[in-house]
Symmetry: C2
Subunit: 146 residues, 2 copies
């Protein structure tokens, strides 16, 4: 395990992991690659696990959950709450919002600077606004999105 033949860019996953203080293990590198190579994605733990299997990467579901949470803490991912049945993780960590196709259960990003939310009342005394989420729920899905 030393002759270097990395045919894929590793999406700086290694660097990102280091910066986050996470050891670059085989599993984390593989999952990082699946997540960050190629555009923005919205995944559930189960879905990522399956994708990993399909890609021939052997990772346990527990590790997928651990990794998703660690990536989220490290700001490499963001959690999106749209469905009380499952948790989605979003590789887009910049300011943005979502369309949610209730039929297919898929998400689409809405650029943060396309939307403005005005008239928000002050947050109650003693609290800070951690985030404002706008979720546009859609019915009648077209074809599968991300």
């Amino acid at each position: 395990m030393s002759p270097v033949t990395q045919d894929r860019p590793y999406s700086q996953t290694l660097t990102r992991l280091r910066e986050a203080g996470l050891r670059p293990t085989r599993q984390r590198l593989a999952l990082g690659r699946l997540l960050f190579d190629g555009g923005d994605r919205h995944v559930t733990a189960e879905a990522l696990h399956e994708q990993a299997q399909a890609a021939g990467v052997s990772v346990s579901l527990a590790t997928v959950y651990n990794t998703l949470h660690q990536f989220t803490e490290a700001q490499l991912l963001r959690e999106v709450v749209v469905d009380s049945a499952r948790t989605y993780f979003d590789t887009n960590v910049s300011d943005h919002h979502h369309f949610f196709l209730e039929n297919s259960g898929s998400l689409m990003d809405i650029d943060g600077d396309k939307i403005a939310v005005t008239g928000l009342p002050q947050a109650p005394e003693g609290t800070d606004v951690a985030r404002v989420d706008v979720i546009v729920r859609l019915h009648g899905a077209p074809r599968q999105a991300s």
Copy 2:
């Protein structure tokens, strides 16, 4: 069952049930009263179940779930998705949004006409906007809200 001595208004639960085509059973009337007497509320199934027990009303948890869902279908309640761990039901079915205190897990309504969301892109072809949810997530809870 005719001398009128109804010390509580029943919040027209009976009427509402009839209109929704739901038989006014003891359980539904009791839950309806708990939900609709007194201001707007945000409840989880477990919480409502406990409240019912505490009020001396014997209802099974299964019935609480059934009832909450039936009430939701009948537009007497609205489901609020803010937390992937539990489902909240809101007695306020008018157009509005929410503050969510992540520490305490409590919700507060934000009047629909206080807030405006502008710049929403068109919904993808073949889909309709079912609803736009704005969730303002707060950290550092003050004292318990609804």
